[in-house]
Amino acid sequence: MDKILRYIFILLLISPIAGFGQKKDDVWRYEGPRFGIDVSRFLMPYIQQTTRSAIEIQADYPYKGNWFPTVEAGYLDVNDDNDKFHYTNKGPYARIGVDLNIVKFESLADNDLVFVGVRYGFSRFSHETLMANYTNYWGAITTTFPKDNLNAHWGELVFGMKGELVRNFFFGWSARAKFLFAMTKDPHMTPYVVPGLGYTNLGVPFDFSLTVSYRIPLIRTKTMPKALKMGGSKQDGSEKDDPDDPNNLNNPNNRNSNNYGTGRTGGNQF
């Protein structure tokens, strides 16, 4: 119940932000590299009972409108000290991959994304058991396991959304399924968590992230990214007459500018 109340509190914090929309009269489309930070890593200690502290930054860049090559990097520090054991695990991780926007942009100012993506993840980390206790009928034993450096490789399938809440500021979430490819073996113990991957005792670890990001508007354009054609769309010419198509000259929303080509600015519009 306590966790549910925390969740509601976080949601209340988020909801007013979502009320800010883009200005309707902005007919330019801005593109550029987007840099973000995963705020869920900071919220996690309040949502879940965890001994982890982490930071993760993300960056992506639009390619042909709907593709977003993505880089993510982070650092995890686990310091799990309880009456049963004292375990530490820390190290950096990185992921590279690409997201694909699967919905059509509704206007030039529309930058909201619903995306699917893939990632390749890599981590080099160290872990150490400073104390492990066990007690049974015959008595108690306390042991330690030395520090060991390990590598892990994994893949991820990603689904998520990003919305432009204020111009150039995005808020988004993603859910991920992760698949461990390989990990160096520690002869003493298998780490129960891998930075960037999650818990190793789960067959397919699931994770989510909440990202706040800022897009550097390097490119200004009047050209809409072409909507993805899924499963062989009809090519009967009917699309040319689609009044909602921002690329359609018959679209009244696109008539308020005489520039229908791609334009680039030196940034003085911002």
Binding site: K3, L11, I47, Q48, Q49, A132, Y137, I141, M161, G163
Partner: protein, 163 residues
């Protein structure tokens, strides 16, 4: 779009809040599942099992007064020594058996902590016991669940006389 956006966030946060809270749902009791069987289909009467060298109050591992052809018990193994002994008293006679083993501590999970894993290498016994058979020398925290209704790590055949 924004309603859907918040809806999904709500769902994700709700799911995230429904974690196991760090509770341990796995067994961390590493017990050697042992069955006692009387020879010649003789029933085992009142039986007491305790650790070798452990005679204080509360050191009894099993005190079963029923008569049965087979009796089952999960026995804890020593954490520090490489062999563990037990004293068995059944049908008015007493015997001792030892199990020689190796042990290593392994992590079960973050919530459950560590538990010992054993490998039985040899057994030894005195006269009441007719023989011992090791069915599965690997003893881990899952053994007690694996053999909860049937099967065992070792079977001890007691040399009983007909009542």
């Amino acid at each position: 779009m924004r309603i859907q956006f918040l809806g999904f966030i709500s769902a994700v946060l709700l799911l995230a809040s429904c974690n196991n809270g760090g509770h341990c749902y796995e067994s961390v009791d590493t017990l050697m599942v042992t069955t006692f069987i009387g020879n010649n289909s003789n029933k085992i009467g009142p039986m007491v099992v305790r650790g070798f060298g452990r005679s204080a109050l509360g050191d009894t591992l099993l005190n079963n007064l029923d008569s049965a052809l087979i009796k089952r018990i999960g026995l804890p193994l020593s954490l520090t020594a490489d062999s563990t002994g037990y004293v068995v008293s059944a049908n008015g006679r007493t015997s001792i058996f030892w199990v020689r083993h190796t042990m290593n501590i392994q992590l079960i999970s973050q919530a459950c902590g560590f538990a010992p894993y054993y490998q039985v290498n040899a057994t030894r016994h005195t006269s009441l016991i007719d023989s011992m058979r090791v069915y599965n020398p690997v003893i881990d925290p899952k053994s007690i669940e694996t053999y909860s209704t049937s099967g065992q790590n070792i079977t001890i055949y007691l040399h009983l006389t007909a009542n």
